[in-house]
């Protein structure tokens, strides 16, 4: 038995370690000041795909990303960890895509890869933060979806069993392939790159597909294919309140407590 697997990976600015120079004065994001990293949950999605390959070594894992050509670095990273093949979908015509246009382009690219049994993705990317792309790719390919997957329990023939991490518990589900799975932050960490594979793929230039290569309906791509428009972006600035400084003394703290009691906020 072997499976054809596609893993959706995204290169993202490291929004979790934002320094003071991360924002431009006009409120836009200074991408140059943020290191580009492998979206953390996509690494976990890759791990789940590699677990399938551990069990069924004839399986083939293809990583796919839509983004600029410099996203080749996360493809090389994925190859060094055990993926078989990587593709970048890149074209200026994808610029301005919202999740609907992103998922449409990804779905067209997945179709072009040929037969597939399983598609893995992260639950959420740390820049857009929407968690919408996975379920939208599933719908476009007319596949069932299992979101927030945490553990792969078993896979045999066309039946997979997974646990899902919910807001208030854990659910175990069984599903029939083909299927799209999104993997959540509490799933197992990805294995490290193999030293020899690091060397082997250090200079690999992954295949690049432009818009024509994925045979889309052009009006569904990029800004044109995106119903959501960003009307305005505000940098988060502190709205300064006229607060009261309370002296750090028994008497002043006592007065504060009494006034809160009088206002029925406490007591």
């Amino acid at each position: 038995m072997s499976y054809k697997i596609v893993v959706l990976i995204k290169q993202v600015p490291d929004t979790q370690n934002v320094g003071p120079d991360a924002m431009n004065a006009d409120g836009t994001v200074n991408r140059a000041a943020l290191p580009a990293i492998f979206n953390p949950e996509d690494l976990k999605a890759l791990e789940m795909a590699l677990q399938v390959k551990d069990k069924y070594p004839e399986s083939r894992v293809t990583v796919l990303t839509m983004g600029p050509e410099r996203a080749a670095s996360i493809i090389r990273d994925a190859l060094s960890r055990g993926a078989d093949n990587g593709i970048i979908v890149s074209d200026i015509r994808f610029a301005g895509s919202d999740t609907l246009a992103t998922s449409y382009a990804l779905a067209c690219a997945i179709r072009k890869t040929g037969h597939y049994d399983l598609i893995f993705g992260g639950r959420q990317a740390i820049d857009g933060d929407t968690a919408q792309v996975g379920p939208q790719v599933a719908e476009k390919l007319d596949l069932p979806q299992v979101t927030y997957a945490e553990r792969l329990l078993s896979l045999k023939d066309d039946t997979i069993t997974l646990t899902r991490r919910l807001d208030n518990g854990v659910e175990t589900v069984e599903a029939t392939l083909p299927l799209l799975v999104t993997v959540t932050a509490s799933a197992p960490d990805c294995r490290y790159p193999h030293a020899h594979r690091l060397l082997q793929y250090a200079k690999t230039q992954p295949e690049i597909w432009n818009a024509d290569a994925i045979s889309p309906e052009m009006e569904r791509l990029g800004l044109k294919g995106s119903p959501t428009k960003v009307k305005k972006i505000d940098n988060v600035v502190l709205a300064h309140k006229e607060g009261v400084r309370i002296e750090n003394s028994d008497a002043a703290i006592g007065e504060l407590v009494v006034s809160l009691m009088e206002d029925h906020i406490i007591g």
Partner: protein, 338 residues
């Protein structure tokens, strides 16, 4: 028309997040001069509409079928996507929960409409598309943080309908409209919507944890950050909370350090709260934390650093070591209480 997709709790009550959305939906519908409708999908839903009318819901759409409970994506997807096609709402709101965030994007993809995740505010206004030279009236402004909370974006979907948004629990305020509000209930024939292929994913087991800690509904929250220094020092926050009849909250840094349970985390990746009083002890006030508490009635900050960002949104600031100030607060309160 404004449509709310309602979620159910484990014991088949309408979830708080959905009632909060009904309150918001009522305001939006009033502003647009239109109806508010709510869809409930589940099993054994007798009388459930009575929970919704008081929030100003005009029409409750009810689909009652064992295949709809517990929640699974495909059966709910089949129902909601068809209901939207039939009833053509202008706006659809859903909870940004593990259910809403699973279902809403699939619906938006099927209907090819825009969807904005995790909105913190929803308003009605006009929009001008300068590039196209077109203007639009009474559009839904969907306001959401992105980039890990470092920016706030206002998003609109001028051309496509419905305008869809998800909102986290606790972000909107739940308010009764009128306990005698008159609505009507329409029962949908679930069998007409569900197909055999909708059974592709089967639930084998479910382990649902009861929420033990309820910080969301607390009217007073004593919250601690990394500046508290240890789990032992967090003990005095529990004492203060107990004295005041409140609950203890925490920052992510405090949770990560093991000072408090994950369920107590307040902020963008935790719970959103709006208590009457929020006492922030040893909390710096990162955007991701403020996102979950800046709607609090009154904020007291206790911090050794006079320039801590939290002080800028505090009503009262006490500069000092929280481990000394908190016991003082407890003593003062005990002395003055009746």
């Amino acid at each position: 028309m404004v449509l709310i997709y309602c979620e159910l709790t484990e014991n088949a009550q309408i979830a708080d997040v959905s009632l909060e959305l009904c309150t918001k939906g009522r305001q939006l519908a009033d502003r647009l001069g239109s109806r508010l409708e709510a869809l409930v999908c589940g099993e054994s839903l007798n009388g459930i509409e009575k929970q919704l009318y008081p929030y100003g819901v005009d029409v409750v759409l009810k689909a009652d079928d064992p295949r709809l409970s517990p929640y699974r994506t495909l059966p709910h997807f089949a129902l909601l996507s068809e209901v939207i096609r039939e009833r053509k709402p202008e706006i659809v709101l859903m909870g940004a929960t593990c259910v809403g965030r699973d279902l809403a994007p699939r619906i938006a993809s099927r209907l090819r409409c825009g969807l904005t995740a995790d909105c913190t505010s929803l308003e009605i206004g006009d929009y001008e598309d300068k590039a196209k030279g077109k203007s639009y009236q009474n559009i839904l402004y969907q306001i959401r943080p992105a980039f890990g909370g470092n920016i706030i974006a206002t998003i609109v979907n001028p051309e496509t309908r419905p305008q869809m948004a998800t909102v986290r629990e606790g972000v909107m305020k739940k308010e009764l409209k009128d306990s005698g509000y008159k609505g009507e209930c329409v029962t949908l024939d679930a069998g007409r919507y569900l197909k055999k292929e909708d059974e592709a994913v089967r639930i084998v087991a479910r382990e649902i944890e009861q929420r033990k800690i309820n910080i969301k509904n607390a009217s007073i929250i004593v919250s601690g950050g990394y500046g508290m220094g240890s789990r032992e020092n967090f003990g005095m926050l529990h004492q203060l909370a107990q004295a005041l009849g409140g609950e203890v909250g925490a920052t992510r840094a405090a949770v990560d350090a093991g000072f408090a349970e994950g369920e107590r985390q307040i902020g963008q990746t935790g719970v959103t709260v709006r208590p009457k009083l929020y006492i922030a002890c040893g909390i710096s006030g990162a955007v991701q934390h403020r996102a979950g508490m800046d709607q609090s009635g009154k904020i007291i900050s206790i911090n050794t650093d006079p320039d801590a960002p939290i002080n800028a949104i505090a009503d009262y600031t006490i500069i000092g070591d929280a481990c000394k100030v908190v016991p003082q607060l407890i003593a003062c309160y005990n002395k003055n209480k009746k």
